[in-house]
Amino acid sequence: MAKLRLPAAPRDPELPGSAGAGPAVDEYGALAGAPPREGRSLRGVFDNRILPWLLLLPAFATIFALVLYPLVETFWLSFHDAGIPWLRDGTKEFIGVENYTEIFTDDLYRRVFVTTAAFGIACVLGTMVVGLLVALLLNQRFRGRSVVAVITLLPWAVPAVAAGTVWEWLFDARAGLVNHLLSYLPGVDLIGFAWFNDRWSAFLAIGIVVVWQSYPFVAVSLLAGFQAISPEVLEAAKVDGANAWQRLRLVTLPILWPLVMVLVIISTIWDFKIFDQVFVMTGGGPARSTEVVAITTVAEGFGRRDFGLGAALAVTLFLVLAAITLFYVRMIREETA
């Protein structure tokens, strides 16, 4: 039986976003003490002054060209009216904030943003709760724990498109497993219930798929955090009369709070930009009622070739995500300061 060796996390991990917080982990390991080798020879100069930049260049050039430049271009494009001619020769007409006024006044786009936020928050909550419960379970000693831990992680590896497809079949109205299993419950008859014909039930089904795929990451991260907390701290709380729930709420979670915040940020970004599962399971329908921002961006940009409006939708999503991230990073800083 393969034993799942969980990574030993540091006592006080210097998490991304909490830079500078906590004791300075010696990030260079053994090398912090040694001064950089300053070669005087030509080879020394090349090795220490030129080579580093040459080695950095390809990766960062790729990132600049395909992430940073397009990011700026999206912003610029969002103030323009750009259609098919933009693709041909870059022709676009400057229209100021007109795309944004359309987004904020049009009922459909407004609804899309509200839907995305509500659905995203629900998914983050669901993922965090399921992830926490799974991490608590895997933190117990029981036979077969290592096998359960590996099985738990599996949904994480599945391509979102495949996961959406498989769950669409599970949620099938007549022959789907979900309706059959639920109908075994007394007083429930769901055979023939079409989950994807109604907005709420469709989002419930999509949300289950999203949580199914994202709780493993949260669970593994939290478990690594649990195992890094020194047993003495928990033992001391126990001696002082704290029960299991109090130990979790008053000791474990406060220690892990920065990690929890980072997981919330990562999950928020994942769940707000969701596309694959929605595209596969409902395609945004019926009557555009299950569209989220990513789906609408593709529909307006590529479906209707309104690239300016698509860019404005994308920028708005980006700003929302950036604001949320900043908010949480601030919270982490304040609480760990």
Partner: protein, 276 residues
């Protein structure tokens, strides 16, 4: 054992069983559906253990597009892994070893990029692809996946490089190696576990990506597996048996790959996070 303890133990096993069912049932049902007879698939009472096994759908899915998409996906994924490993290892090594000016900002940049969803960039990227005639090419997809997977790959690998004592390279260079030789002969073999973790990250990114592949490959010849799966599923009356055969063949390789390396992947993410 007091009654409460026994109850607690039972509770743990019940919870573990529920968890395993939630995690595994979709996999079981996927594989099962793909080998059932049509009569067992569309039925009023679900069949959990079929009497008859039907493997024809696998051959059929292969003929109806799975084979071509598999070749495309493998090409895209392996190229992304190879190119990504080289670029990420170079950059991670420098960031772990040298006091570069603006080093803190470089890492901040890496993390920021990690936070930009693909959907935000898809329209300008499409423009670039049209200009450079990259639509429907595998290398077009590769460079986008590289740009997106590199930040996290660099971040992870950097932790591994930082955990290798610098004295080892210094010794090699005192013995007459150039820095490149020292990296190649001394450092890279020592970070092999990190390279393994990074390669699975790159592979899964390229293998699973959908939104770019969907919009940037319109020719069926250029489509990767996720796009081919949605085309195969189609709309309206769906042949679920065939679709599940297709899904099974697409999911099983990643799952096996994942089982082989999951320990290294989780260690890699944590090492990356801990080493500054």
């Amino acid at each position: 054992m007091p009654a409460r303890r026994v109850l607690g133990k039972v509770g743990i096993y019940v919870a573990a069983l529920a968890l395993v069912a939630f995690a595994l049932l979709p996999f079981y049902w996927m594989v099962l559906t793909s080998v059932k007879t049509d009569a067992d698939i569309i039925t009023e009472t679900p069949v959990f253990w079929p009497d008859e096994i039907n493997l024809e759908r696998y051959g059929l899915a292969f003929e109806r597009g799975f084979g071509d998409a598999l070749v495309n996906s493998l090409l895209v994924a392996t190229t992304t892994v190879l190119a990504g490993l080289v670029l990420a290892a170079f950059a991670a090594y420098v960031l772990a070893r040298f006091e570069m000016p603006l080093r803190r900002y470089l890492l901040l940049l890496v993390m920021t990029v990690q936070m930009v969803p693909l959907i935000v960039l898809i329209i300008p990227l499409y423009g670039i692809f049209v200009d450079l005639h990259l639509l429907n090419t595998f290398y077009g997809l590769v460079i986008v996946y590289l740009a997106f997977a590199l930040p996290l790959a660099i971040y992870m690998l950097r932790g591994f490089f930082a955990s290798i004592p610098r004295e080892l390279e210094d010794a090699a260079m005192v013995d007459g190696c150039t820095r490149m030789q020292a990296i190649w002969k001394v450092v890279l073999p020592l970070v092999a576990p990190g390279l393994a973790a990074t390669s699975i990250l790159l592979f899964i990114t390229a293998w699973n990506e959908f939104i770019i592949a969907l919009n940037f490959t319109t020719d069926t010849d250029a489509q990767t597996l996720p796009v081919a799966l949605t085309r195969f599923t189609g709309r309206g009356l769906v042949d679920w048996g065939g679709v599940m055969a297709f899904s099974t063949m697409m999911v099983i390789p990643v799952v096996i790959f994942f089982l082989l390396v999951h320990r290294r992947l989780t260690t890699g993410l944590v090492l990356g996070a801990t080493k500054g």
